[in-house]
Amino acid sequence: MLISMNWIRDFVDLSGLDTDALIHRFTLSTAEVEEVYRYGADTHGVIVARIDAVEKHPASKKLHLLKVNDGTRLVDCVCGAPNVRVGMRVAFATEGAQVCGQPIARAKIAGYDSCGMCCSEQELGISADHSGLMEITDDIPLGTDIKSVYGIEDIVFEVDNKSLTNRPDLWGHYGIAREFATLSDRPLRPVPVQDTSVYDSLPPVAISVEDPELCYRYTGIQAENITRHVSPVNMRIRLFYCGSRAINLLADLTNYVMLELGQPMHAFDLRRVDAVEVKRFPAPFRFRTLDGNDREIQPETLMICSHGEPVGIAGVMGGLSSEIEDDTTSLLLESACFNAVSIRKTESLLGMRTDASMRYEKFLDPESTPLCAARFLYLLAEADPGARVISRLSDCYMRRFDPITISFDQAYMDRYTGIRISQQQIVKTLTSLGFGVTTEGDSYTVRVPSFRATKDVTIKADLVEEVTRIYGYDNFAIQTTHSALRPVPYSIPNSDANRTKDLLVSRYALHEIHSYIWSDKAALSDLGIVPEENLRILNAGTPDHDTLRRSMIPTLLTVAAKNKTFADRYGIFEIGRTVEGLREDRMANERRKLGILLWDRTGEEEALYLHLRDILSDLLQLLRHRTASYAVGQGIAYGWQHPVNTAALVADGETIGFLSVLHPRVKARLDRKAAVAVAEIDMDRLAGISALSLAYSEPSRLPGIDIDLTMQTDVAALDFPQTEARIRKAGGEWLRSVTVADVYEGENGSSITFRLAFVSHDKTLTKSEIQPAVDAVLKALAAQGMVHKTL
């Protein structure tokens, strides 16, 4: 929102104070000022002059040769404006003047001397009008400095609308002026208004409101005999500086009052609208708003009607059919207060926001509608003295809100602030901001003014803010808290994530990536992957991104596809969120998952797969001191997994993830040469698995014996954990460990060499002592179909 300092000065005397310093304090105490614009400071030497003679330029169709009377003499001027005429008063930039920074010098134009420039409003920077010269009324004496008559010089600052969301009272200059009055410790002047009681004997306007919860108050009044159509220059300058376009007197007046008091108003042409019903319609229909667009009106949308015909969307925009036109001479003025939630719903249904609806959605003060109408009438009488009010001020006050009173004591204020702000200062600040304050000892009773009572100030903490922001946060003495020492609760998921990242990055040289929670359907389609049905986003930026992902792996595959040339051999991982559909309570089954992808263009897929297996096993050892096991051929849930070379990762009897290579279809599309292995761990499942203590056993001080047994068997089909269990069972008390010393796979079948380590705590074992155990093992293995290979 744009705020004019000239306008502020209408309501508070800021003479002798540094404007920039005040604006800075406004930033620190009220809302951030984003930009400051200085208008008219680089314009000087522009005076009121009269055109005394007009002669056509002999050689130009457009140019005229003027004699301009500056009050003391006649000056030559060559002018290209179409609206020049003898007797017209214009803004004349004299020789040596500056107009918006442009120096004006004597010049030869098309062969004739020109000693100055007649200005358009656009050239003066006070409007967008460049259709001709600015015309000045006859009552202003020749030679008068134009800046002494018009508010051309002004400082305008911009406040981000978002920072005013909670302050409906700051959506007009008067509310801002109240802040300046408080910050500068100067009084706030009342707004000059028309006394409307003089119209009490006139007939009322027929106003009816259907639902008091949607329209709290509707104030209307009628006037006629309006003959002026253009607004006074100073009003137009202010509207222009504050970002509003001058339209016609009545529309400008509604905008002016809105920018001044924050209350949206609407002027209906009285010929079309002389009575008002505020209501909703049972069925949808089309309605043309005054911007010329046809809008689909839904049954929940509140409408302004006249004799049953819709003439405006309440609080948003009027209808085209009842707008003020060039020949309009009479109006019905609307000053109303609507339900903010209803306005917001209408905005979202129509997909439109206007200056009016932006204010209504902030919860405006219903108390102010008659005052704003009275202000309109005051300004109308100034601009068009012939205008005549023909109705009484008719007021439908449907829903009154109870005044809010808040009590607190000094101790509360001291505790909440942590500093001491004196009673005198608290009372002064709140009073200046419009609150009614009474004190009794250390207790305060505060009446909230109606313009702050609509959602904004409701509890005592709100009053702390009012007092402290004016006190100034820079003036706070700051101090540390005095809290007792307590142990910090420990987070397993966070610790798991951090240690996992450390292992993967530091030991296995993987790269951590970040991605999105949704599937990228287009990128997956390139890989021949169709994402599984899953929970969808209703308002995704693109349909490609409307489905949440179930697994981390497809995301990693798309990342790998983008990084084919990064290195021959690399790995990536991410701990991210996925969704496995809905739980029974219809909530998303959100899972934190670790996804890992290894890429190798130089090695074999099997080696990469087994390397990834080692990583998973290592991770489980690190985080839980547990041995991972792998259920071969299980854990297949997705089409991109290899149907044979996929294994479920099992810990403590629970499946917590999988290890896989890619289905040939996906692999071929990703990269012909690269071996790719992927794995996923459900970190939430992992979090539920307890950590074992590190297993320690006293080593024997005596030498042991290692026995290697080479067995002929189908190694690919071997279940090692099961075999190991058999060996251990048969191996007797001295069998300390079973490891794999060698695997051989050749054309004539395959074999595996188990290394059995025997050791005793009590004696040095001899071969003959352990031979019975070795024989038992061989027997157990033979029962499994393995054949002992002897050299």
Binding site: I478, T480, L504, A509, I537
Partner: protein
């Protein structure tokens, strides 16, 4: 016997001088001093000598034995020294200046910044909490004093899901859960990924990271909040920071603040980065709104607290000079691999 000893001594000395390897010396030692060695043999012959010669011969043989032992030891030492010197002289020179080509991994820059912050906060007694990314309307809005149709909501900014849940737009969505989980007093930070449905460009992402902090106890004041923020941010930036608080509106705080720090690029003098103001808007913060405390099961008459939000993504970009926010989620390894543990 005497001449026999003398000639043996001469032979030994000659052979010892000729032995040029430790192995040859060992052979020599065994040949003379071993169990079946020549000198050992002489000692055996001693028994056969008459008593008057025994003493003299015994002395001579022992002298020879001692001399032989010393010679072998000395020569062994000499040869070892020579071999070591030669090994040093002929050593191949290793070059540590040639870079190794071993793989190295990398952390995502967000992780690096998040960990730095977590260390600072855990050092100040804060627990680190994790929270889902998919939340309910209640968690993200209603529990934070933002009822339906509140102006602070905007349909355009929130990703809504077909089951009525939404992607959390702010880490504050965890406040209610944390208050209920721990109860007062509490100190927690909760980093998390947030989502806003907006068009992306170099400065805007629909997926980004925040870290929120919450401290609730008896008598926590605005004065405490300012002190804490100043101390905490000085730690984060590893230098003394000046802070400035301005009123800021967040429905879940009262009062709420926008916190500015003195511009780190110009030091507060004014430069293009701070739009010549000398200040950088860094993080929103505020006293927890009494309604939010009450909703979290905490009595606002007994307890007060403050909350603050740090833009992790923004901090990471500031710290490393990352210009395009989209690079963070794009999985571009030439960029990400630079944040490695080389």
């Amino acid at each position: 016997m005497k001449t026999q000893i003398e000639s043996m001594r001469a032979r030994f000395c000659e052979q010892a001088a000729a032995a040029d390897t430790p192995d040859k010396l060992e052979e020599l030692r065994i040949a003379y001093l071993g169990k079946k060695g020549e000198i050992t043999g002489l000692l055996k012959e001693l028994r056969a000598l008459p008593d008057d010669e025994k003493k003299e011969a015994g002395r001579l043989i022992n002298a020879l034995k001692e001399e032989a032992e010393n010679t072998v030891a000395r020569r062994t030492e000499e040869l070892r020294n020579a071999a070591e010197e030669s090994a040093v002289r002929h050593a191949r020179r290793y070059n540590p200046t040639i870079p190794h080509t071993a793989d190295h991994g990398s952390y995502h820059p967000i992780t690096l910044v998040q960990r730095e912050l977590e260390e600072i906060f855990t050092g100040m007694g804060f627990t680190v909490e994790d929270y889902p990314e998919i939340v309910t309307d209640y968690q993200c809005f209603a529990s934070l004093n933002i009822p339906p149709y509140h102006p602070a909501r905007d349909m355009q900014d929130t990703f809504y899901l077909e089951n009525g849940q939404l992607l959390k737009t702010q880490t504050s969505a965890a406040q209610n859960h944390i208050m209920r989980k721990y109860g007062p007093p509490l100190r927690a930070i909760f980093p998390g990924r947030c989502f806003r449905n907006e068009a992306t460009d170099a400065c805007h992402e629909n997926t980004f990271f925040q870290m929120e902090g919450l401290m609730i106890d008896k008598d926590i004041s605005i004065s405490n909040l300012i002190y804490f923020m100043k101390t905490m941010l000085s730690e984060v930036f590893a230098r003394p920071i000046r802070v400035r608080l301005r009123p800021g509106y967040f429905p879940f705080t009262e009062p709420g603040f926008e916190l500015d720090i003195n511009c780190l690029i110009c030091g507060g003098e004014g430069c293009p980065s701070c739009k010549n103001s000398g200040w950088l808007e860094l993080c929103p913060c505020g006293m927890v709104h009494p309604n939010v405390l009450r909703e979290g099961g905490i009595d606002p008459e007994l307890y007060t607290g403050f909350a603050f939000g740090l833009g992790l993504t923004r901090l990471a970009m500031m710290k490393y000079g990352i210009k395009d926010i989209r690079d963070l989620n794009a999985g571009n390894l030439p960029i990400l691999a630079q944040f490695g543990n080389r």
